[in-house]
Symmetry: C2
Subunit: 211 residues, 2 copies
């Protein structure tokens, strides 16, 4: 009896790559592949998939929302997030949302199998260096000044609003706070990111998968 898994990725090559990695392994069987969020939500209904390898950067949604929906619909499903960017803080957010594993796309066969077995046993799987970084509580020195970049909940909301091209005034109305408070948050984000202005923090946010 082999493990039945499915893969969601919008790149045919990645699907092909994983299938290729697993084809001569009897322990795992890829029963279905999807290329977007909608397909995945619908397609898993008729299958008895145990693990889903889920690409985070899908065209029609973001990984966090989709994994939330999936876990609500299929509580027993194990999800391993597949991604390109090895950002500890992003991984953390995914794990907080119930995802069972976080795997970089430059993984190899051995690691892939280990990840599958780990999540099936009910444990959380993290790549070696990623778990280290989570433990040491320090993400890669991405900020220019080497400072920790850990945004608070409110700062993150302001960041999102800035990325929506809203003005200070509009953000204050959206979040029901004073414009002065918005300015404080923005200044703090700029400080944390080592940026010079809003353009800088948007670049950082996109690079680090925060948007």
């Amino acid at each position: 009896m082999s493990i039945e898994i499915a893969i969601t990725d919008d790149h045919e090559l990645v699907l092909e790559g994983i299938k290729s990695m697993l084809q001569d392994t009897k322990e795992v069987e890829v029963v279905s592949t999807f290329s977007n969020a909608k397909q995945t939500l619908k397609g898993l209904d008729d299958l008895s998939v145990e693990v889903l390898l889920l690409d985070i950067n899908l065209p029609d949604t973001n990984g966090i929302d989709l994994s939330k929906q999936l876990l609500k619909k299929f509580p027993d499903l194990k999800i391993i997030a597949l991604t390109s960017h090895d950002d500890a803080s992003f991984a953390k957010r995914m794990l907080k949302n119930g995802v069972h594993g976080y795997l970089l796309k430059n993984t190899d066969k051995i690691e892939l199998l280990r990840a599958l077995k780990t999540v099936l046993s009910g444990e959380i799987y993290l790549q070696k260096d990623m778990s280290d970084r989570l433990l040491y509580q320090r993400s890669k020195p991405k900020a220019k000044n080497g400072l920790n970049i850990k945004l608070t909940r409110r700062e993150h909301e302001v960041l999102i609003a800035i990325s929506e091209e809203l003005t200070t005034q509009q953000i204050s109305e959206k979040l029901f706070i004073s414009p002065k408070t918005v300015e404080t948050h923005r200044s703090n984000i700029i400080l944390k990111f080592g940026a010079k202005n809003s353009v800088g923090i948007i670049k950082m946010a996109i690079e680090n998968g925060l948007l």
Copy 2:
């Protein structure tokens, strides 16, 4: 005698996917794979590779610069750009820089083989819908107001400078023009992109591979 190709991609899965697609084809042989720009430049020296499948989003450089360098060093090499984003204007820039083909990562085996044969015959290969869009001279309606997003040389320079978090004053000094001129350019970029401010144009620029 089969076609000897190499692949550069920082994702093991993609490498594996392409190799898998080509393994039962005698016409093509993958003689080497690389995961970054430096490796590629060095590694191709000792090989007689005819075609390189090159990922555009490498960690240590951008695709345009690398393909320029490669073509300078290996004038007979055929390069097929591999990418995730199907942007006509970006493809156009790549082709202008001497790249021989532009292939999305959600390609399949048949198309991959066709692309390889096409570039080897000295022709340019473009995916079906991409060539259509280039012909019709209209890129996907990505700007919010549906306008064409084609920046002039100078506008592009200003855009880069804005993305470097420079102020109007600093940009004017960098480009040896009046601050007023910089403002004009920025306004025009905002207009063309349908953005509301600099944050908006940076987002657009990143999404469209202009940065």
